[in-house]
């Protein structure tokens, strides 16, 4: 019995890989989605344009080169947080989740598929950063350590943010509320030291920034990509690698404890009646 159960779960997980692959492919053919993947590279290109010739105060280091790693960190957080939140909310309303529930082990397939898809698409948008990034590559530190650390931060970043994204998405009453999450993320960028060194902000704002994963993912990416002497621009003059793993790890734990509870509660609520209600609302009001 347990062998059969495990077989069935593995089959579902493998189906999830297929789902992830298909949905990634579908997403790359959808102009609306592709626009999203280009969003960060474009933002970065614009930032570079404006910062051209500006250097970090007191040094001759290109400000643009300092921003690139921060944007890498931000891309991971965005891909892992906003993406799943929006998808979960939409999939609940349009009946995708209900179908997953009606299929044996369907939720396993669904979740594996989502993780694969968000991993792949986030990776794509980070790789796209290389295009504008080439112009400042000379200022960066790029060696084996960089790639290793970036890979670790990428995986840890997704592990940290996806469960939280899933939990947040489950809490929203309707898909249209996810816009609020996006707005909130944007506001959080200010104290997260992405576009401007966090040390230049008032102390209380620094503390706010340090609560959320955005800052730490940015810091991690900076520690991977910036020359060692740039550490002086950070809080305490240190990359605080241990603290980074600590804080991100704590968020991951919170996410993995909270997400299944919230998801289960939400999945219970997903019903034909709820889907019909959402459909009627969208038909009547257009959102």
């Amino acid at each position: 019995m347990t062998v059969a159960t495990n077989d069935a779960r593995w089959a579902a997980a493998r189906a999830g890989l297929v789902r992830g692959w298909l949905e990634t492919k579908q997403s790359l053919r959808e102009p609306g989605d592709v626009l999203w993947y280009f969003l960060m590279p474009v933002i970065f290109a614009v930032v570079l344009l404006f910062m051209r010739g500006n250097t970090l105060p007191g040094t001759d280091f290109e400000l643009g080169a300092m921003v690139l790693p921060s944007i890498v960190g931000m891309s991971i957080a965005f891909g892992g947080l906003t993406g799943p939140a929006g998808t979960i909310a939409t999939d609940r309303e349009d009946g995708t989740l209900l179908r997953a529930k009606a299929t044996p082990n369907g939720m396993i397939g669904y979740l594996v598929g989502k993780i694969v898809m968000f991993g792949a698409t986030t990776l794509i948008s980070i790789v796209l950063l290389i295009i504008p990034g080439l112009t400042v590559a000379g200022d960066l530190r790029l060696d084996a350590r960089t790639w290793l650390l970036l890979a670790v931060i990428f995986v840890l970043g997704l592990v940290t943010t996806v469960p939280i994204g899933v939990a947040l998405g489950s809490l929203f009453k309707s898909a249209s509320q996810v816009g609020l999450l996006f707005l909130g993320s944007m506001v959080l960028l200010v104290p997260s030291g992405i576009f401007y060194p966090i040390t230049a902000l008032p102390a209380w704002l620094q503390w706010v920034g340090q609560v959320f994963p955005y800052y730490w993912l940015g810091l991690g990416a900076r520690s991977a990509m910036l020359p060692a002497e740039m550490v002086t621009a950070e809080i305490g003059g240190s990359w605080r690698t241990l603290e980074m793993f600590g804080v991100l790890g704590a968020w991951a734990v919170v996410g993995f404890v909270v997400a299944p509870i919230v998801l289960r509660r939400m999945a219970r609520r997903a019903s034909g009646a709820a889907v019909a209600e959402a459909r009627d609302r969208v038909m009547a009001q257009g959102w």
């Binding site: 089959a11 298909l22 044996p104 397939g109 009646a273």
Partner: protein, 357 residues
């Protein structure tokens, strides 16, 4: 019934519901629903909006937790149904815009994968996707995106998704809403095929009474949270004595008699004996719609006992003496139909034959 023998029950009963109750807050949606479905049976669940049809189905599907009562579906309590149990169920959901970017075949292939481990010697799971596409008539559209399908095609895809795992029991919630007559006909053929060749038990909810009559072995009428009638379309019509309508022409005049008795044979025999000039004789049993309206009306005016599932076996109008005996001259003395309408044979002529919906 077979209360003490759950093992036997699980072999020949697909659904067994006893005194099912559901309450949201202070509102009672189901106030004691009892019915059963044998394996291979096709059941139609009818009822006005808000009668509790969807709630009942969602409880049976394991998507909703009931407040009270006993429910057994394929031998398990749906509230604790495991994945192996789920693999034996087919749920046909009304799609809207989910999986819009998926191609039809991709989606069926993907969903079929989940059922492979649940294949057993009796039933090989899942359906072969090509055969399934053919069975629902979507072969030509296999490589189309789901969002590009028409409403009828999408509905057939919903059915295909519902049965891809070769379920032993299928729930169809208003399957043909929005179908054109042709699509409806094809869908009915598909349901017949499922029940005849695959011995699939099917529970269907619908607002379409014709559909219920065509597809179902047995019809359940749910009203105000309880089953008010349970039987074949024929049985329901017979239980409700209202029904038969006899029309004939005599002396160039068209006559209509609404027999209050469910069996108009006696009336017709009398009529033919007494008036040899009768032509164009026509006997029409009340349509399921008439029966349905009467049953719901009776339930809502409190004329039947609460929570019964054999409504209409007693205390119905069948026992009442019926008005309007045929006279020797073949005319009818103001026969009064149970709904209070009076026909006198003269005011109604050929156009009354168009009354049926």
């Amino acid at each position: 019934m077979t209360q003490k023998q759950p093992s036997q029950e699980s072999t020949d009963m697909a659904i067994d519901v006893r005194d099912l109750r559901m309450r949201y807050g202070t509102k009672d949606v189901l106030t004691g629903v009892s019915f059963a479905a044998r394996r291979g049976e096709v059941l139609a669940l009818l009822g006005p909006n808000g009668a509790g049809k969807s709630t009942t189905i969602e409880i049976l599907e394991g998507f909703r937790t009931r407040s009270a009562g006993q429910v057994t579906v394929l031998g398990q309590d749906p509230a604790h149904g495991d994945e192996a149990w789920r693999a034996r169920l087919g749920v046909v959901l009304q799609s809207w815009r989910d999986h819009g970017r998926w191609k039809v075949r991709e989606l069926l292939d993907y969903l079929a994968r989940f059922y492979v481990p649940f294949s057993d010697p009796r039933i090989e799971r899942p359906w072969n996707v090509d055969e399934l596409l053919d069975a629902v008539g979507l072969t030509e559209h296999a490589d189309q995106k789901v969002k590009a399908l028409s409403g009828g095609q999408r509905r057939r895809l919903d059915v295909a998704i519902g049965i891809v795992g070769k379920p032993e029991l299928v729930f169809l919630d208003e399957p043909t809403a929005g179908f054109d007559p042709h699509a409806r006909r094809e869908f009915h053929d598909l349901v017949h095929r499922l029940s005849d060749f695959e011995n699939t038990t099917i529970l269907i909810t619908t607002h379409d009474l014709d559909e219920a009559e065509k597809l179902a072995d047995r019809i359940l009428i749910l009203d105000e949270g309880t089953i008010v009638a349970n039987g074949s379309a024929d049985e329901l019509a017979r239980q409700m004595a209202q029904g038969a309508e006899v029309r004939w022409t005599a002396d160039g005049r068209r006559h209509v008699h609404a027999a209050e008795q469910s069996d108009p044979t006696g009336f017709v025999r009398d009529l033919l004996t007494k008036d040899p000039g009768v032509t164009e004789l026509e006997v029409r049993r009340a349509s399921l719609e008439d029966t349905y309206m009467a049953l719901v009306h009776r339930a809502e005016t409190g004329q039947s006992g609460p929570g019964n599932d054999q409504a209409g076996t007693d205390g119905t109008r069948a026992e009442e003496p019926h008005a309007g005996q045929p006279r020797a001259d073949g005319s009818v003395s103001g026969a009064q139909a149970p709904d209070g309408s009076v026909d006198d044979g003269t005011s109604k002529n050929d156009q009354t034959q168009e009354v049926r919906s």
